[in-house]
């Protein structure tokens, strides 16, 4: 009897201990991303480290904000499961930033009251111009509360760093972004496109009442001038318009080698359908960052085959994967059932960059986190090797892509010939 009992206890202990052993070994299976070796495991961090997350979960910009939120949650789960912050767990304090500057300010006001170590968001650039100063602007500086770093993952407005520095002095340095501003994406893209497609003249169409598309337009103009391309026609429209045939007719009449379009996702789909199906334009259409969501070319919700021949520069392309982004996109699709887009990849990268800053600072203090954040250099991410340059701007290689049958292919002479059938 006695020995039987002993045996039972032994078996019980063994079964209980087995998963413990297996869990201990789990630590070896690290995510591919992360500064595991450059920064030692943190020792002073413990308990919960809070970061604020504020993306558009409602209204117009939710099309970008929802994938961003999902990617951040995925990254945080990875970070905590792998013990990236040692004893501490990373906790997201989430607020819906809506789609207007006012809702974003309100979200940020709630977040800074939670003593977060950093904030990721908001989705739109004009929201960032309004809401980011809640974390580091004049009022925060005067209140004596610690300034909080804000990491933008989709803000592409040109010159945000200098604008913030001009308005808020040293506080402006608390703004960092993962997303390449148009000033970094477009020149690289235009150069590749002009080179590969041999473009000499273009017509430009842009939405002039949205700051995102208007600033992209200005960058396009200077990049095209730099590449020696002549602009033969310029037409404008407004966000919310549904009929673009008049402007397109004028542009097509000027017979350019390509049409450059700076617009947001909602206008792009009808614009493409009208250009291709109604007016029969077959040449290349070069787009700004707004074209960078797979929905544009989808058969049921987007422009379908009318999107063929759209050339767009981006921060990331599913066809230019490294092993980190392959792992992320597979995991994302498994988790949420939709393919990851650029916005998801950037939000995922942003979360890891922030977590890395916390790990390397070995502190949840916002100022220490900012210092480590600013020092981010040669960090391997799904976007490629990521650094902040000496002006605090993000840096990684942009990518020129061409759409064919719903796919974003890398732009090469072969893929271009395939699309345009030359």
């Amino acid at each position: 009897m006695r020995s039987k009992n002993l045996l039972f206890v032994f078996v019980l202990i063994a079964t209980l201990a087995l998963p413990l052993g297996a869990m201990a070994q789990d630590d070896g299976e690290r995510p591919l991303i992360g500064a595991w070796d450059t920064c030692a495991d943190p020792v002073s961090l413990s308990g919960e480290v809070k970061i604020g997350v504020a993306f558009a979960q409602s209204e117009a910009a939710a099309i970008y904000g929802v994938p961003q939120q999902q990617a951040v949650e995925l990254a945080i789960a990875e970070i905590n499961e792998s013990g990236y912050l040692g004893e501490a767990t990373l906790v997201a304090v989430t607020e819906d930033a809506g789609s207007t500057p006012e809702t974003a300010i309100s979200a940020f006001t709630n977040l800074v009251a939670e003593d977060v170590s950093a904030i990721i968001g908001p989705t739109l650039s004009n929201q960032a111009m309004a809401a980011d100063p809640v974390a580091f602007g004049t009022e925060r500086q005067e209140s004596g509360d610690p300034l909080i770093p804000v990491v933008g993952v989709s803000n592409t407005r040109t010159g945000m760093e200098t604008d913030f520095a001009a308005s808020y002095g040293d506080g402006g340095a608390y703004f960092r972004r993962i997303s390449l501003p148009e000033s970094k994406v477009i020149p690289g893209t235009v150069e590749q496109v002009v080179d590969i497609l041999g473009i000499e003249t273009v017509g430009i169409m842009y939405s002039d009442n949205d700051q995102f598309t208007a600033s992209a337009y200005e960058v396009f103009v200077s990049a095209l001038e730099e590449s020696g391309v002549e602009i033969v026609a310029t037409e404008t429209f407004a966000t919310g318009d549904v009929d673009f045939t008049a402007q397109l007719t004028n542009i097509i009449a000027a017979n350019p080698d390509a049409i450059v379009v700076s617009a947001l996702a909602a206008e792009i789909v009808p614009l493409l359908e009208q250009a291709r199906s109604q007016l029969g334009y077959t040449g290349p259409i070069i787009g700004g960052n707004g074209f960078n969501t797979p929905g544009i070319a989808s058969e049921d919700r987007g422009a379908g085959t009318d999107a063929n021949g759209v050339v767009v520069g981006g921060a990331w392309n599913v066809a230019r994967q490294n092993e980190i982004s392959t792992a992320f996109t597979a995991k994302y699709e498994e988790e949420y059932g939709t393919p990851a887009d650029q916005f998801a990849v950037q939000a995922y990268t942003g979360t890891w960059v922030v977590a890395t800053a916390i790990r390397c600072a070995d502190s949840a203090d916002p100022a220490a986190v900012l210092e480590a954040l600013a020092a981010t250099a040669d960090f391997e991410t799904p976007l490629g090797t990521f650094s902040f340059d000496e002006e605090g701007l993000p840096e990684h290689e942009p990518v020129a892509q061409i759409i064919k049958d719903g796919q974003y292919l890398l732009l090469t002479e072969e893929s271009a010939a395939e699309v345009f059938g030359e």
Binding site: E102, N110, A130, G137, T138, S167
Partner: protein, 320 residues
């Protein structure tokens, strides 16, 4: 005070939201004046834009102090209302609404292209110097210092409320009420219809301009896109939800409609849906709005009945 603000913050009404609520209350009051005179004008989003841009340009580019700047913004909106009101107020009902929406769009597009217009003038006049960037087109003006304080707004709302209460009993208020009921009869009674309608329109424009000045110095960025058709409808919605049968209706509407989505914030993607349902219920069951005096009378009556009932219960118990 700290206790109250903490309690409000816990249901989603942080200091910024409360400030915004009062800004919107001022905007709601601005449309009340024209509605009181029976004019269905949606022009106030345009006057708000004018007040906002004029005051922000003064504080940003010319280092004016805040209070004079918003007062100038208010006067500018009033001055622009004069040439707009004279022809437009000859229209009635839905035609007036359409014409005033046109004014809102024209204002927005003028602000959008203001720098281009200035640049064009410079080239036509062969001026050597670089044309200035004033409204900065669609990118808007950024880095505006936050000057709008809750105290200013509460004082403004009190002053405007006093003005409204006085107006109801004044010759001006009675004239407007008469015009609302029947313009022709009012005219036959010797009321100068054109004068009173324009005066109400200009005063409303000045209030909208003042609200615009406050809102411009609250959100750090102003863009032409913020003053379009959507804003015009929002302002109308404040006063419709609040009701125009009393002067405090629009204030209640502005406060409630701004607060509602913030209180519903925890519902995330369902916020908009529930917000809409709540509004529908209000409109369906309270056609007179939140500020309907009849509603408050019945609330008082019901409360009185409940108090009576409880008291009766007490006496009954005591008797037993």
């Amino acid at each position: 005070m700290g206790f109250v603000s903490d309690a409000l913050a816990s249901i989603g009404l942080n200091e910024f939201v409360i400030t915004l609520m009062f800004v919107n209350a001022i905007l709601a009051m601005s449309i009340y004046l024209t509605l009181y005179g029976g004019m269905f004008s949606l022009a106030n989003a345009g006057f708000m834009a004018i007040g906002s841009y004029v005051s922000v340009i003064l504080t940003q580019n010319h280092d004016w102090p805040f209070l004079p700047a918003i007062l100038v913004g208010m006067v500018a909106a009033g001055l622009i209302a004069i040439p707009i009101g004279l022809p437009v107020l000859r229209l009635r009902d839905i035609y007036l609404a359409i014409a005033t929406i046109g004014f809102v769009e024209i204002t927005r597009i003028m602000i959008l292209n203001f720098d281009k217009i200035i640049a064009e003038v410079y080239t036509r006049l062969h001026m050597e110097s670089e044309p200035p960037k004033i409204t900065n087109g669609p990118l808007g003006i950024t880095g505006i210092p936050v000057e709008t304080k809750l105290e200013y707004l509460i004082v403004t709302v009190i002053i405007l409320s006093y003005f409204m209460i006085r107006m109801h009993r004044s010759r001006f208020g009675r004239a407007l009420a008469a015009i609302r009921q029947d313009e022709n009869v009012a005219a036959s009674q010797g009321i100068n219809v054109v004068y009173y309608k324009n005066a109400a329109f200009i005063l409303g424009a000045m209030m909208a301009g003042l609200g615009g000045g406050f809102s411009g110095h609250l959100s750090r960025i102003i863009q032409p896109g913020s003053y379009g058709f959507g804003t015009a409808v929002d302002i109308l919605a404040y006063s419709v939800l609040g009701g125009i049968s009393s002067w405090y209706g629009p204030i209640l509407g502005g406060l409630a409609l701004t607060a509602l989505p913030e209180v519903l914030r925890p519902l995330k993607e369902y916020t908009g849906l529930i917000n809409g349902v709540v509004l529908l219920i209000f409109i369906a069951y309270l056609p007179g709005g939140l500020g309907d005096p009849a509603l408050w009378r019945s609330v008082r009556k019901t409360a009185g009945r409940i108090v009576n009932f409880i008291n009766k219960g007490k006496t009954a118990n005591a008797g037993a």
